[in-house]
Amino acid sequence: MIVEDDPAVADALQALLVGAGHDATVRSSAESLFSSAPPRGGDTVIVDLGLPGIGGAVLVAWLSALADPPRIIVISGKSSLTIERETRHLRPVQVLRKPPSADWLEAMTTASPPH
């Protein structure tokens, strides 16, 4: 599942994942993710840190707190300092920077899920 407010980034990421044979749905905000069935342990949720309204960091904290938490990958175009500040207090998550410096699909599929 992709939670990203920029429609083009969300669509491109979905194209990349679907092309590689994954199921990928898109939510444009934390609020719209809340309104559907919560993700489960086997799922991966890609969260944009700079979501409008309820921010990406709060969403990541909420997802981490689920009884059966999904794997979480954070994407962000913010500066490394801001990313560090916003994710410091979260359980360690994989962070991918915008614009991509490498193949994102490879980065997402090869990295081991955080513990």
Binding site: D6, A8, V9, D11, A12, L13, A15, L16, G19, A20, S29, A30, E31, S32, F34, S35, A37, P38, P52, G53, I54, G55, A57, V58, A61, W62, S64, A65, L66, A67, P69, G77, R88, H89, L90, R91, K98, P99, P100, D103, W104, L105
Partner: protein, 377 residues
Amino acid sequence: MSEARFESLLDTAADGIIVIDELGRILAFNKSCEALFGFTAVEAVGQNVKLIMPPSYADAHDGYMENYRRTGHRKIIGIGREVAGRHKDGTVFPIELSVGEAATSEGRQFIGVLRDLRQRKAVELRVSQLQAQIMHMTRLSAMDEMGAAMAHELNQPLTALMLYMQAVIRQSRAAPAAPAGDKVLGVLEKALAEAERAAGIIQRMRQMVEKREPERTRIDLHDLVDEVIDLSDFVAQGSTVTIRRSYRDKHKVVDVDPIQIQQIIVNLLRNAVEVAKDSAGRWVEVDIGGDERVATVSISDSGPGLSPEAAQTLFRTFTTTKKSGMGLGLAISRSIAQNHGGDLSALPGGDGRGATFTLSLPIGDGARARRDEDTKG
């Protein structure tokens, strides 16, 4: 993950975060909320959320929740708005509130993120008080900030474009012999649209920065510089940096666009004051001089000077030694000076001497003659 673990995660967030159930009972109240409202989590959890609302909101809140439960009609969920909060001591203050709704195994929960708007409001008021006076002179600073915003904006189409290309490359690699089907073509078209979106952003930026023909007026450089210094003194009230004036000749008449030249001087003065602020001397000196053909305005400071590396890239766009800004200020300043037939140069200083920036402008009709020549060429 346990509820306790969730709360400890929330406790480290900079924003106030509150979770309530569908009856309005507080389930989680993080540390930032404690600071914001003066209640401890122990006092707040289990209470109705009306605890932290001024009476006018509190009276209506049960009605809102009941109405939402009955009709599903949303007044705030998923929208976010400015509301009022109430501190334990009774103080009512503005907050920005975003609310999300989540269905959990324990029932419906509402997650609210709250941000104190008091400081922002105070800053907004101060800014609007000063804005009228300095608006036409701070355009360079606005451009610098706009540059930062645009870089941020460029990030999105660039990310989308690269992901589309990664998708196409993967598909083509998987089936290299297959002709590009409609699907691949569709992705490529979307990639092109994203490249065009990025180009549009660059285009807007170019239009903003591109050279504009100066609206020239004959003016005494002393008057022009005096006005900027007086204004800078006013804006920097309370600053410990002294701005000294050292004018060598009585008059220096130039034929320039006063607003554009003042923008350059404001920019140079602001940079100099910022550097001088942290130095022992805490002074900035503005010197007006030159000869019969060229007038110069030099701005020196008591700072440590520029490193050779910084001096080399000083006038390059997107190069800055400052924490904020994109380094557009000096690049645009030089382009304005050159557009007037003049120039902007820097002596880096160092070894106990501060940097000196010199703006040179052709005197009197010299500028006009040079421009006419340019037009002929």
